[in-house]
Symmetry: C2
Subunit: 374 residues, 2 copies
Amino acid sequence: MTQMKLMKQTTRYDLALIGFGGVNRALAELIAERGDELSEELGFALRVVAITDLRAGSLVRTDGIDLAPLLAAAPGELDFSGMAGGSADPRNEWVIREVPADIVAEATFTNPADGEPALSHVRWALRAGKHVCTTNKGPVALHGHALKRLAAEYGVSFEFEGTVLSGTPVLRTADRLLAGARVTGVEGIMNGTSNYILGRLEEGVDFSDAVKEAQDAGYAEADPTADVEGFDVQLKVAILAHEVLGATLSCDDVAREGISRLTPADMRDAAAQGLRWKLIGSVTRREDGSVDARVAPVALPLEHPLASVGGPVNAVAFHTDLLGTVTVSGPGAGRTETAYALLSDIIAIHQRHGTGPVAPAAAAGRVLQEAFRD
Amino acid sequence: MTQMKLMKQTTRYDLALIGFGGVNRALAELIAERGDELSEELGFALRVVAITDLRAGSLVRTDGIDLAPLLAAAPGELDFSGMAGGSADPRNEWVIREVPADIVAEATFTNPADGEPALSHVRWALRAGKHVCTTNKGPVALHGHALKRLAAEYGVSFEFEGTVLSGTPVLRTADRLLAGARVTGVEGIMNGTSNYILGRLEEGVDFSDAVKEAQDAGYAEADPTADVEGFDVQLKVAILAHEVLGATLSCDDVAREGISRLTPADMRDAAAQGLRWKLIGSVTRREDGSVDARVAPVALPLEHPLASVGGPVNAVAFHTDLLGTVTVSGPGAGRTETAYALLSDIIAIHQRHGTGPVAPAAAAGRVLQEAFRD
C-alpha cells in the first residue's frame, strides 16, 4: 500500500498544449484546480510544460508552467511574448518536436478539407515519440488509420475519444466494453446544434429563426453550414466507421444530407404519424462485408431510442449480435466536457504505458529551458 | 506479430460453471459456437472443465468437457450421473475448491435474504485462488465489499458486471470510462418486468392483468413480488451505491416502494401533466457525504432521459460534475445478454492477470481427473 502510494506520487506526465482555446484552457483549469486530487485518484500527476496558440504565441517552461496567471487573463488578451520562456510566435513545429514532453494535447480548429495544420501537429508529435490526444476530428476522420499505424511504429499512443461526443465515452465503450460482441451497426445523434434547431422547428419556429436563436445562444457558429448541412456529423461517421466497424472509407464515402430543407410543417406531419425528425449519422455493415455510411434526416418512431434525445444531448446506439442495442447518451459539446475527453485519453495512455519508469522528458528539461531563452 | 499470435494461442482459461441454468448454458453455447473466433479476437481460449447444477449433478473433465452433447439435451433432462466424470450430486464445495480451474462462473439463483448458497460458492472459489465472475446479485449486494477484499487478499479478481443490467456495461462504464469525473448520483430503470407492466398500465390495462400478461410472455416469475415490489432493484441500488459511489450500506438502507399501487388512472393523470411513471432506483450523494438510496415509482417529465426507456430496455444515468449526465441503456435481462456479462468479466480478468504464464490449472489436471473417478 505504501509502495502504491509512492508510485502514484512519482509518475508524472509533461504536457504540451497545442491550441489554447476553450478546450485546452479547460484542461489547464482541470489540472490547476484539481491536479492533486486527480493525481491521488488516477496515480499520475500532470504538468504543463508548453503551450502554443495562434494568437497568444508560445510559452515553454520545462520546469512547469504556472497556470494560474494564464487562466486569470481573459482568453482574448493572453500574450505569451512578454513572459519568461514566451514568444509571440506559436512555433508549433519546434515546440512539438523539440520541447521534452510526454503527451501532446492537440486542440486547434478542425479543418475538414485536409485536416491541417492539426494533421502535421499529430505527425510531428508521434514521430518525436510523444503520445498524442486530440479532440480534433480532421486528422482522425481523414487519416486516422495512417496515424494509428504511425503511433504503433513509434511505440506511442494516439487517442481521440473527444472527436465524436466530446467527453461522453463512445469510442471506448465500443473498444473496451463491447469486446467479444459483434457490432453490426452504429447510429447516432452527434450534433447538438442541429438537434436544438430540430427541436425549435417542432415548436413551430422557422428554420432561419431557429438558426439565429442557436447562434444567439452560442450553440451555432456564425456560419452554421458545418452543423446544419451534416458536414460535422459526416466526419464523426467516418471516425465511427473506422474505429468501431474497422472499415476503410473516406469522408466522401459518407453520404450527406443536412436539415436545412425541413420545416415546421414537416415536423407536424411526422408527429401526426408518431414520428420525429432527427439528424442521424449511421454506419451499417452490409451482408457482403462492405459498409453503408451516411448522415441524413430520418423520421424516427417515437419509441426509437434516439427519438427522445433532445437539445444539446447527443447519443450513439451500437447494434450488436449478443447484446442487441446498447446506447450511450450524454453531452456532445462543451469546453469542460471536451477537456474531460482529453483527460480520459491521458488516463488511457497511462493505463497502456504507465507501468514504465517516469518519462524521460524531465531529464532533458533544464538544458532545453536554458537553450530556449533566445 | 507472429509472437502476438503465438501468445494468443497459448493463453487458456479453464472454467468451472456453477449452476447450469439459462445463463451459464448460454455461456457454454458462446464458448462452443464461437470459442475459436473469440480466442482470435480476445487473445485467450476458454475451456470448461467442470459444471455443477442442482438438478443435473456435477460433471468434471479436467481435459475439457465436450459441450455439444450437453447443449443438445433439453435443459430439464440433463443428468450428469451417467457420464464419464459425472455424478448425480452437485458437490459444489468440492468442485469449487478442488477441481483445478482458473475461473469460477457463479450463476445459481439469487437469494436476497443471505445470498446463500452463492455467497459460499464465491468465498470457496476466492480462497482457493480462483477468479470469480458472477451474475448473482445476492452475494454482491449483501457482501460485495468483503468479497472484494477477500479477492484482493488472494490476488484474484471478483467481477460482477451482470448483476445490474445483464450485459449492458454499467459498472465498467463508471469504473473505467468515467474515471477522473466525480459521480454525484446514479439513477436508473433496472427492472424490465416492472417497466413492461408500467407500459401496459399506460395502455389502460389493470395491474393484475398486466402482471399476468408479463408472466405469460415469460417476463415475470410465478411470484412477481421481487420485480413489482422493488426488491430486485433494491439489490441493484445497493450494488451501485457500493461500486459507483463507494458507499457502505446494507440493502435495508435502500428505501423501497414498488409499483403495485399504480393504476391506469394514475398513468392518465401523469400524462395529462406531461409526466410518465417509472420505477426508479437511485443513489445520490448528499452534501454531508452520506448517500440517499431508494427505489420508488417516480413521475418523470417526458424530456427526462429515462422517461422514454420502454419495455425490456433498461438504463442507468450517471450524474457527474465534469460531464453532466451520461446515460447507458440496453437490455436488462436475457440469457445470452447475461452470459455476455460473464464473458466481459472474463475479458476483464484477462486484462488484469493475462500477462502471466498459462494458468497452473492444466498441470494438476490429469492427476485429479483420475482421482475423481470414484
